[in-house]
Structures are given as structure tokens and as C-alpha cells.
């Protein structure tokens, strides 16, 4: 069995596309929250077949893009310290802070390891007992449990030179903050697939109720996306607003209690800074006091510097779904994937990078 090919089958897709066209009976704006959805929508060419009246805007769901300049600067300053070695997911390597990136730090001699899993960072720590290995925890609910499990493993195995710098973020809290913005007129939310596999479809219930917002949890294949969009359109057309789930093969109502338990064993909610959105109370996760020995921010006494965002960069407005990349004076001119000014152009899941790669003018 292939779990993806069949979801791309033309025989399945065509009627679903027809259904989508029939479902859109009045104009609506849908926000896709997740960066992986943004990429899937472009890669599958979905924008070209959307009915008139259905507008897609990209939201704040690329964790790299919402990592603030002060956090990037703190990461880079930490990588520059002697005896410290940082381990990161690859897409963080070229994200600019206020003065350069981890790639620049690496080229001047800082130890930066790109890993596929936080567990790989723990292995690096075990193999390099003379260095403090810090994993940069950047991500949403999909990633947080993997980091929690790694901290747990470090505790069980008594690895004392492994730390995490947590800028982990959660999804429903900023969505609540964002949707309260009167500038942002959104009728429906394409809810993230893998974040929802952890937190459950129920996490969007308060948003549906408070904002009268149609919510559908979507997978990443063409059939999932087209079906989800028509369900959103239908909810808006009939006024029967609720949370629906097209990704039932991976997401259920309650989520993954085992992962949730692991996360709240290690982490607790805190205020955190989002690029372009500012500090959103209760939207981050920090390491609990009883696991402080693994908290790089405590161990290395790191203060976040005050930094200004790059001049002219509209990533903040783009992350809020208020502007599109073409509105930005830097887009495709001074800011390109080869020479990114803002984080939305760096990550492959960033809105600007997706627009640039798929030639949206």
C-alpha cells in the first residue's frame, strides 16, 4: 500500500475539484496556517485551479519564519562562545539575525551541526564530552514532543553536556491573537495536519466558536487539500460553522495523549516573541524548573538582545496574512532565496520562498 499515491489520483481529484467549484457560492478568504500546506498548495498547482471568489492567504505556520531576530542573535552569540557547539534543523542555518546568520558564524569558526532529529544532537553530545552541545528548539507542536523525549533520554542516560535552547511555540494561542485583528478578514482556516495529530482537532473548537470561523484539518495530498477547501466553502455558504477533519487517517479529535503528556512533563507555557507579531502571552514553551540542567538559556545565562527587524522587510505583515510577498518592496529584488533578507524567503516553507520558487508575480 502506498499511503500517498492514491490521494493524487486524477480520477479522484477531478470530481473533487468540480465539487470545490460548486461549493464556492460566495467570496471567501481561507488562511492556510501551516508552511507545509503552503508548499503543498504551490507544488500541486492548486492555485491555478481555484474557483473565482476563493482567496488563499498564508499564515504564521512556518516555525523558522516566526523565529525573531533577537532569538537568532542569541543563537549566533551562543554558537560563537568557546566550548559551545550548536545543533540545528537545516532550515535555520541561513536565517538572518540583525547581523548575519548561523552560516556566517559557522564560516568564522563556530561549531554548527545540522541534524535531522534532536536525538542526533544528543548523540553528538555523547561523542563530544568536552563541549556543551545545545540543540536549538525551533518548532510547533509536531516538533516539541520529539525534543521533550530527547531531554527525557538525556536525563535517563545522564548526559550532562546536552542542552536545549527552547523557542518552541504553540499554534492555537497566536491564531487567537491574530484572528482578533480587525485588519485580517478570514472566513476559514485550513488547520495544520501534523500539529493537529498531536493536539487533536478539538484545539480549533474555541476559534470556530469565538470567531465564527470555519475550520477543517487537512492532510498534504491533493485530494485532502481540495476536499478540505470545498468543506470550508460549504460551511461558509450554509453558515453551519464547525471543526471538520479530512485527515482522519492521522488526526483524531483528542490528539496524541502520549506525546502531550511528554511535552507537559518537560515544558510549561511562557510568553514568547514572534517575528513580525511581537510577544504573544502564553504562546511559547519553556523548560520546567525541575529540568533546568538541560535549559541552555539558564545554564549560559542568555539575555535576549533588543534588535530591530530588517528595514523594509514585510515578513511580519505577510505572516499575519495581511500582505502578500508582492507587496514587499524587497521581494524578488533585494530579497531572493540566494540572498534572503527576511526569514519568509529562507525557509523552503516560507511564503516568500514558495511564491518565488513557483513564479507568482
Amino acid at each position: 500500500m502506498k499511503h500517498y499515491d492514491e490521494y493524487r489520483d486524477a480520477e479522484l481529484i477531478k470530481p473533487l475539484v468540480e465539487e470545490l467549484h460548486r461549493s464556492v457560492t460566495k467570496p471567501l478568504r481561507v488562511m492556510e496556517v501551516c508552511g507545509s500546506h503552503t508548499m503543498a498548495i504551490f507544488r500541486n498547482g492548486l492555485r491555478s485551479i481555484l474557483p473565482d471568489g476563493l482567496e488563499l492567504v498564508s499564515g504564521p505556520g512556518c516555525p523558522v519564519c516566526v523565529t525573531s531576530a533577537p532569538h537568532m542573535d542569541a543563537f549566533i552569540a551562543m554558537a560563537d562562545r568557546p566550548g559551545v557547539r550548536v545543533a540545528i534543523f537545516g532550515d535555520l542555518f541561513r536565517v538572518p539575525g540583525s547581523n548575519g546568520s548561523l552560516a556566517n558564524a559557522s564560516s568564522r569558526g563556530a561549531r554548527v551541526d545540522i541534524v535531522y532529529s534532536p536525538m542526533d544532537a544528543l548523540e553528538i553530545a555523547k561523542n563530544n564530552p568536552d563541549e556543551l552541545v545545545v540543540f536549538l528548539g525551533v518548532g510547533f507542536e509536531t516538533t516539541t514532543p520529539t525534543i521533550a523525549a530527547t531531554i527525557m533520554a538525556a536525563k535517563v542516560q545522564n548526559v550532562q553536556n546536552f542542552n536545549v535552547f527552547s523557542t518552541q511555540k504553540t499554534m492555537p494561542v497566536p491564531l487567537n491573537a491574530l484572528l482578533g485583528d480587525p485588519e485580517l478578514k478570514i472566513d476559514g482556516l485550513l488547520c495544520p495536519g501534523h500539529v493537529s495529530s498531536i493536539i487533536g482537532a478539538k484545539a480549533y473548537q474555541p476559534l470556530a466558536e469565538k470567531f465564527g470561523l470555519a475550520c477543517v484539518v487537512a492532510g498534504f495530498e491533493t485530494a485532502d487539500l481540495v476536499k478540505s477547501l470545498s468543506m470550508l466553502a460549504r460551511q461558509v455558504a450554509t453558515g453551519d460553522i464547525k471543526v471538520e477533519n479530512v485527515y482522519s487517517r492521522v488526526v483524531n479529535w483528542e490528539g496524541n495523549p502520549r506525546a502531550q503528556k511528554m511535552v507537559y512533563e518537560i515544558f510549561e507555557p511562557c510568553d514568547t516573541d514572534w517575528r513580525g507579531l511581537g510577544v504573544i502571552p502564553g504562546s511559547g514553551l519553556k523548560i520546567r524548573d525541575q529540568y533546568q540542567e538541560f535549559d541552555a538559556q539558564v545554564r549560559l545565562e542568555i539575555e535576549l538582545p533588543e534588535v530591530e527587524e530588517a528595514k523594509g522587510c514585510m515578513c511580519g505583515q505577510i505572516l499575519k496574512g495581511i500582505n502578500t510577498p508582492q507587496d514587499c518592496p524587497l521581494y524578488a529584488k533585494r530579497c531572493t532565496p540566494a540572498n534572503p533578507i527576511g526569514p519568509c524567503m529562507v525557509s523552503s516553507e516560507g511564503t516568500c520562498a514558495a511564491y518565488f520558487k513557483y513564479g507568482q508575480d
Binding site: 500500500m1 479522484l12 470530481p15 465539487e19 534543523f89 518548532g139 482522519s248 506525546a259 516553507e349
Partner: protein, 93 residues
């Protein structure tokens, strides 16, 4: 970053209730095999199940039946449209 892929479980090691055991599965996709952690998977998988992998961890076990049911539902919707399941756009206005 949150992209995660389904892979087939070919071997399982460890005990779901004991975190001191190695909780590992060997997974396979098109002949490429990889070891992944099972610490946070929602249901302990059996050999032959599929798991969704993110950052070296299985985050969800995907039972073949569940996936087939989901696909069948989409297919059923596709096959029976527009007569049975669709309201005409005029009814929605």
C-alpha cells in the same frame, strides 16, 4: 518543517511502558530502511503497520484499515457526485 511521512514498520524493539528500554522501530519506504524512536507514538505499532515520522520519531501509528477507510470515503464522495451528495449551488445561496 512539520512535514512528516508515512513509513512501514518492519521491526519493533522495547516496551511501551518502560522508558528505560530502547523504544525503537525499523521502518521502510521503498526499500530505504531507517531506525525511528517510538517514545511519543500514540499507539504502539505492530510489524506491518504504518507510522508517520517526524524528526526521527514516530508521531502517529497508521493502521492500514484506517487509511483505506479514509481513502474509500473520499472515493465514495468523488464517485457519487454530484447527484447524491451535492446540494445545488442555488440551494446554498
Amino acid at each position: 518543517m512539520c512535514l512528516a511521512i508515512p513509513m512501514k514498520v518492519v521491526k519493533v524493539e522495547g516496551n511501551p511502558d518502560d522508558f528505560t528500554t530502547s523504544q525503537l522501530a525499523t521502518v521502510d519506504a521503498d526499500g530505504i530502511q531507517k531506525e525511528v524512536r517510538l517514545d511519543i507514538v500514540d499507539h504502539w505499532p505492530n510489524v506491518g503497520d504504518y507510522v508517520i515520522i517526524h524528526a526521527g520519531f514516530a508521531i502517529h501509528s497508521l493502521v492500514e484499515e484506517e487509511a483505506k477507510k479514509n481513502l474509500a470515503l473520499l472515493k465514495q464522495l468523488a464517485d457519487t457526485m454530484p447527484e447524491e451528495l451535492l446540494t445545488s449551488p442555488d440551494d446554498l445561496k
